[in-house]
């Protein structure tokens, strides 16, 4: 029971991270293409200025939750994905600093450089995150002791000895790139105005078609790479509501964006991300990290779970703390409601 609860609490943290940091990553990807002059660029970046740092906290809080609830998974996955995680860390550093820095430097060339860095780092991060999730769904070559070490790539095949990147995980990376870019575009339709908002709204259409195609491809590919992903769905057919939710939320994005209802379209996109991630988690459960080297080596819930007292104590403070945290998030987003400020003095 504790295992079930904590599995889904960690999943909630991941969904929270993707939904929130997802839109500022998407804005990072888009700002290079959408903003045509300094004023528009400022408006684009001002839409995420007060919140991106808080959004990133979900990654940290999620990592910490994973650490104490499933120490073996945290230890195995973080050391096994050593090289790509270090690249992710470097990208997060460069991205955060370039965003903050550009407001302090008023020399055109330097600004252009930092803007480019911010865009590229944002795009690469979405690809890495998507590929990371695909790595978990595909499985890794676990040794008997529960550890592994993955090279960046091997022969691009998701066989028993894959690399971080193969054709399957690349699809995952592209899916994340398109999904979060679309998510960011919808955010911009809410937070900006005029031509900029029109352009953001316009770019949703091509992105939507790409996303629809990639969603189907990734679904088929996942079933091909790990057929066991469907087991839970057939055992509990009611859970086919998840793929139905994916389709419904995609339709919602299309219709609501067409109907000029930016907030609702954005919320639809949040739902899409939620259903996709929840669907992936349900496909894994109760495995946390499948082994490509034989299912007896899988890191499962019962193998990775922390001691019962730790989890019982954790449940109390975690529930209390996250309730507070959600309160702050709601409060701050409420205060910054509406179009982004352009002439705030600070920064």
């Amino acid at each position: 029971m504790m295992g079930f609860i904590w599995f889904w609490l960690v999943a909630v943290m991941i969904v929270g991270y993707v939904v929130l940091d997802g839109f500022d990553l998407g804005v990072g990807v888009l700002h290079l293409f959408l903003a045509r002059n300094e004023a528009e660029r400022k408006a684009t970046l001002a839409s995420i200025g007060p919140v991106w740092d808080g959004n990133e906290v979900w990654l940290l809080a999620g990592g910490g939750t994973l650490y104490f609830a499933f120490p073996l998974l945290y230890a195995s996955a973080f050391s096994g994905f050593y090289l790509p995680l270090m690249i992710v860390l470097w990208l997060l550093i460069l991205r955060g600093v370039s965003l903050e820095l550009r407001n302090h430097i008023d020399v055109g060339v330097w600004r252009a450089l930092l803007d480019g860095l911010f865009g590229v780092a944002s795009a690469l991060l979405t690809i890495f995150f998507g590929a990371a999730l695909a790595n978990v769904l595909r499985g890794v070559p676990l040794q008997v002791d529960g550890y592994f070490f993955l090279p960046l790539w091997t022969n691009w095949q998701p066989g028993p000895h894959p690399g971080i990147l193969d054709w399957y995980t690349v699809i995952g990376g592209l899916l994340a790139l398109v999904a979060l870019t679309l998510h960011g575009a919808l955010w911009l339709t809410i937070k900006t105005s005029g031509e900029l908002a029109q352009r953001a709204r316009g770019i949703v259409t091509p992105l939507w078609f790409m996303l629809a195609a990639l969603t189907v491809i990734s679904l088929v590919a996942t079933i091909a790479v790990r057929p066991a992903s469907l087991d839970n769905y057939f055992s509990y057919p009611v859970t086919f509501v998840v793929p139905v939710g994916v389709i419904a939320s995609m339709a919602g994005v299309w219709l609501l964006n067409r109907g000029a209802q930016p907030v609702k379209a954005f919320l639809s996109s949040c739902l899409y991300l939620f259903f996709m991630l929840a669907g992936a988690c349900w496909g894994l459960y109760p495995t946390l990290l499948p082994a490509t080297t034989g299912t007896d080596r899988d890191i499962t819930l019962s193998r990775a779970i922390s001691g019962p007292h730790t989890l019982a104590v954790g449940l109390v403070w975690w529930g209390f703390g996250m309730a507070l945290a959600i309160g702050y998030v709601v409060f701050v987003y409420g205060k910054f409601r509406g179009k982004a400020d352009l002439n705030t003095e600070a920064h």
């Binding site: 906290v57 050391s79 550093i93 954790g314 975690w318």
Partner: protein, 449 residues
Amino acid sequence: MTAELIHRLHFAFTVTFHYLFPQLTMGLALLIVVLKSVALKTGSEQWDRAARFWGRIFGINFVFGVVTGIPMEFEFGTNWARFSQLSGGVIGQPLAMEGVFSFFLESAFLGLFLYGEKRISKWMHWFSAVMVFIGSWISGFFIIVTDAWMQHPVAFDRLPNGQFQVLSFWQLLLNPWGLLQYAHNMTGAVVTGSFVMAAVGAFYLLEGRMMGYARIFLKVGVIAGLIASIVIIFPTGDLHGKYVARNQPAAIAAMEGLFKTEDGAGMVLIGQPNEETGQIDNPIVVNDALSFLIYGTTKAEVKGLDQIPHDQWPTALPLLFYAYHIMAGLGTWFVLLMIVSAFLLWRQRLYQSRLVLWALLLSFPLPYIANTAGWMTAELGRQPWLIYGLMRTSEGYSNTVSASNGLFTLLGFMGIYSLLGLLFTVLIYREISCGPEPKPILADASITN
């Protein structure tokens, strides 16, 4: 080089660089609350601008703290996997609590403090500053709880698979080691914050500009600096030292360079520990002082390294000795400088005393060095243990990550952090050159309008 050494250096380098930022964040957060409170109470626009100025510096510093802090939480897993697997049930807890209880609070209210002043009331803006202060100090607390458990493990048992498990949540949080270390460490952060504030004040006065703001910075910096410089030695440093002496005799013996057990042990002020001969070369010693400081009597016996099995000696003994002495020596200088400055402030002569202003200006890097040396003392003193008395450092690193992979990413961090250091310097230099007066409209603003 061995994988163990690389992983130690990896963590040590990234955490040392990281802590340059939070120590100022935590110290300044308190001082900004002071500035905002005076502004709110007196309605003074000047104090409000002073608070906004330090808010901008805080904001830059905070971002660098955040981006260098994220790697720390990852490195427990990437570089110290075997340690994380066994200890996650205990120390994963305070680390997760830091995210849940502190970072959400801090980031939410900092966004409001820096970007939202026009959207909220004066009172709410003050409240945001207070919440940022509370958030940053809670964050420090959970990190200290984590470290304190590694230094002085309490309230745990072990599961059949070897994992540690928390038995009492409150005993984990209220670990006496942690409370003493927290008090000492946070005072250290206030020392950094107040020395930096005083140094900027001194800089403006020596340059002969921003005189009004300079006086505010000096007044707040010197008063806070005096209090913090005293409190960091007595009672916090004194109590923490006594607790270390009772619980980690090997650490205190190595810090003090006490090779032989003595009744009425002396305190070495300066010298070089020589591990081969087991003595201090070229020492200057104050007789009986160590016994007195630890046990309150000049005749008490202090355990030397001769009573500790050699395989339990701290592994970098001279480095530990020097780090501790640098910290203690600088601490003495802080008190002296702040007593003189505070006396002059009281006699209303500080603003004209160029020599003391120069000393204040040049002293701003020293608290960074002292805080770093203090952390090195704590962490080197814990060696060769990762969890004191329970798990050796050699048993904790990720053995799937080879030494050369570790070296590659360590060099990568060194490169990126050099760049960050450079950028940070440029940004802070710009803020200080512009000063607290409202900025003239920037060139690009004309495009906006």
